[in-house]
Amino acid sequence: MTPRRKRLLIIALTVAGIAVAAGLILAAFEKNLMYFYSPSEVARGEAPDNRPFRLGGMVVEGSVLRQPQSLGVWFTLTDMAEESMVYYDGILPDLFREGQGIVAKGQFNDTGLFVASEVLAKHDENYMPPEVADALEKAANPQSNRTP
């Protein structure tokens, strides 16, 4: 092979490799995107039934209900317009409490209950997850609604 052809070969291999990588990456990216939905959007049926998403809102005062003898817990999230019930089995984050804005990652089970695999509350007592703040604002001003 001449040096020129060798260089071309290297470049071709590199480009092909990058193209394959880019394809795989974008596929993985698309598959693992998680959208955020507010209780209002869930109530309107906009949230997906068969793939995980993030659901956020304020934990309704007095809504936290624990299963005795296990770590199962039910609570209700609100954006001040609609409410969604969440079930979670595990340790809640340090800053989870009633009246706090939180985000739950999970998906609907067969009976239509939102089962969270992870509950996120940020480490700052005054801090509202931005998605939740946005959802509250949207629920308060329905005119400015925009669909994700």
Binding site: P3, K6, L9, I10, T14, G17, I18, A21, A22, L24, I25, A28, F29, K31, N32, L33, M34, Y35, F36, R54, R66, Q69, S70, L71, D89, G90, I91, L92, D94, L95, F96, K105, K122, H123, D124, E125, Y127, P130, E131, A133, D134, R146, T147, P148
Partner: protein, 660 residues
């Protein structure tokens, strides 16, 4: 008075930074040696004033001067002294000051250890570093001044974020920043080289030790951050693919590609344009990382809207640095670059593969980190990209990297015969098989195939690296004596590569065989995880300087034999009203026993997270080995000798086949 001194010192530092960047650059352009010579004293004087400002801010924290807004927001009179000092870099303004201090220290280091470099070149390097400093000083003085007063003074401060009240967090940010900012040296070398048209193997030899040192610090900083998240967040995870983590990982990936590409540029005068691009990329990603983490854009894109000055400044600064560097590259690059030829079977090919794989990895992390921000900023909805994406992408990218990593160091520069290389690699291949057979019995059946794959890659790298060392020694007359006379860069490279393999073993084992259980436990209860019996022995109240805590004691036994006693705390920080978890950990090389308290339930029981994490220590041990390898490599005599050679006025065109 002290805050005003700090403020004034910052303004003076800005003036000196302007002198440091303008005068030597003009001098280098016009050939005026006196103007060029001004770079060194100006850099040192700038450093002095930045350090004065830093000490002034530290003094405000130590003396509890709550009239300073930044101190009042991030400290408290009950905060222990060590944390009052680390609180200096606990938030946005102070961490920028730390950034500038470290930049000034790197600049001074360059000014001292660059005696043999051509005066025009070093004048340009220091000038570019001065430009970066100007950007940061302006940003601080106009939008993020840590010395602003709020009179009348607050009675007491609102305390440091409890998450940051931890020994790990005292040293993690400085380490990380030393790494981030260290890439500014490589960046400045690249810019100076582009301006002066001086980009050759001598240039790469000057840039290498600086870049490797910065990379070592960054490696250390990331490992510390991961270790801290592991024991302080109470989730038992060591890497979350969180944007904050990604922000530090991107410069690391680009930096890793850079140090390898620099090796090829130094040894063989190839990949020059690519190396320059990587130097620009590594530093740009460091800047991006600093701003991503500290500007609040991650908490909310709309943080920019609440403080538009900061956001606009950051975007302009990033645009100037990245855009300016790339424009210069496009303009000057083609004239100064060009490269030597190499065969397909040569070390260059392997280093090229390294660059491609690491660059693609960087791009994937960048996509996963920035795309959600961009989409949100454009009003396209709120999305997040989960760890599955990163895992799905990283495993196929890192696997060929590890495979090639075993081969690369065995291949000669420029031209080699694949048959020779393959013959050489028979022994390590055999060693890998032996190790795998031995490991097969020890690895549990579930997930065995994946585990064996990870272990195979790691074993391959270790065996091939050891084999390369043996081959090197054999080539000498007294094999054992040769071991201590091997060049430091080769030893460092080997240590770092084995460290990478060690990290891979840790990642593989802990990802596959991590046992994690959330249980409800009362005092006296016992639970079993992976053959260990955990007993909740007692719970008692303890009081810290600024928190109240419940401390739970657990005893651990295996087959009836008592093993360890663990104490986990749930702390409640009084001033901020925040709860924090302190995990109880019994650490061994082969496994960690990990207990974190969740919350207290109605009947006095606790929700408890109990984990057994096999080989999780290897993860950080490997990272430390990588960092150590970098330090060893940077200490290579060749880098100093090269400088002496240049100063003696002869260009070093020696073509050595020593490892890079």
């Amino acid at each position: 008075m002290i805050p005003e001194i700090g403020h004034f010192a910052l303004a003076l530092a800005l003036a000196l930074a302007i002198v440091q960047s303008v005068v030597p650059m003009l001098g280098a352009a016009s050939g005026n040696l006196t103007w060029m010579a001004l770079a060194r004293p100006a850099a040192r004087a700038q450093c002095l004033f930045v350090v004065v400002a830093f000490i002034a801010l530290a003094w405000c924290f130590i003396a509890n001067d709550f009239s300073v807004t930044y101190v009042a927001a991030n400290s408290n009179s009950a905060l222990p002294l060590a944390y009052r000092i680390s609180a200096v870099w606990g938030a946005h303004e102070g961490s920028l000051l730390l950034w500038v201090v470290i930049l000034a220290l790197w600049t001074v280091a360059v000014s001292f250890f660059s005696r043999g470099l051509p005066p025009a070149f070093i004048a340009r390097v220091l000038s570019v570093m001065g430009l970066i400093s100007i950007g940061f000083l302006l940003f601080m003085l106009f939008t993020s001044n840590p010395f602003l007063r709020d009179l009348p003074a607050a009675a007491d401060g609102s305390d440091l974020n409890p998450l940051l009240q931890d020994p790990g967090l005292i040293i993690h940010p400085p380490m990380l920043y030393i790494g981030y900012v260290g890439f500014s040296v490589a960046f400045s070398f690249a810019i100076a080289g582009l301006i002066g048209g001086h980009l050759d193997s001598a240039w790469a030899r000057w840039a290498r030790p600086w870049t490797i040192m910065a990379w070592s610090f960054l490696t250390c900083g990331i490992a510390l951050g991961s270790w801290w998240a592991y024991y302080e967040l109470g989730w038992g995870g060591w890497w979350f693919w969180d944007p904050v983590e990604n922000a530090s990982f991107m410069p690391w990936l680009a930096g890793t590609a850079l140090i390898h590409s620099l090796a090829a540029t130094e040894k063989r005068d190839v990949f020059k344009s690519w190396t320059v691009l990587l130097a620009i990329a590594a530093f740009s990603l460091s800047l991006l990382g600093t701003f991503l983490v500290r500007s609040g854009v991650l908490t909310s894109v709309h943080a920019f809207a609440t403080d538009p000055a900061r956001g606009v400044f950051i975007l302009i600064f990033l645009g100037l640095v990245i855009g300016g560097a790339l424009t210069l590259y496009a303009w000057r690059g083609p004239r100064t670059l060009g490269g030597a030829d190499f065969e397909l079977a040569s070390r260059e090919t392997y280093l090229l593969a390294n660059s491609v794989l690491l660059s693609v990895a960087t791009a994937t992390v960048l996509l996963g980190t920035l795309y959600p921000l961009l989409l949100d900023a454009l009003g396209g909805g709120k999305i997040s990209v989960g760890p599955p994406y990163f895992n799905a992408v990283f495993i196929p990218l890192m696997s060929p990297l590890l495979l090639l990593l075993g081969i690369g160091p065995a291949v000669h520069w420029k031209r080699d015969r694949m048959a020779r290389v393959l013959a050489l690699l028979k022994i390590p291949a055999l060693g890998t098989v032996v190790i795998l057979l031995a490991a097969y019995a020890m690895v549990e059946p579930a997930g065995r195939a994946t585990a064996m794959f990870g272990l195979m890659l790691a074993a391959w790298v270790v065996c091939a690296t050891v084999n390369a060392i043996v081959q090197r020694c054999r080539a000498r007359q007294q094999a054992w004596l040769a071991l201590i006379t091997l060049p430091a860069s080769f030893i460092g490279q080997s240590v770092a590569h084995i460290g990478f393999a060690v990290t891979v073993i840790g990642v593989t084992m802990v990802s596959l065989y991590d046992a994690d259980k959330h249980v409800r436990m009362n005092v006296g209860d016992q639970t079993h995880v992976n053959g260990y019996d955990f007993t909740f022995v007692s719970a008692r109240k303890v009081a810290g300087p600024n928190y109240d805590a419940t401390e739970a004691r657990f005893s651990v036994a295996q087959d009836g034999e008592p093993l360890a006693s663990l104490a986990a705390q749930k702390r409640f920080y009084r001033v901020r009203g925040m709860a924090m978890t302190e995990a109880g950990i019994d650490a061994r090389l082969s496994r960690d026993l990990y207990i974190a308290l969740g919350e207290q339930l109605e009947d006095g029981a606790w929700s408890v997270r109990i984990s057994v994490k096999p080989f999780v220590r290897l993860l950080w041990l490997g990272a430390l080995m990588m960092a150590l390898g970098g330090v060893i490599a940077a200490s290579d005599k060749r880098f100093r000798r090269a400088r002496a050679a240049v100063s003696a006025g002869r260009s070093d065109a020696r073509q050595s086949s020593t490892a890079g």
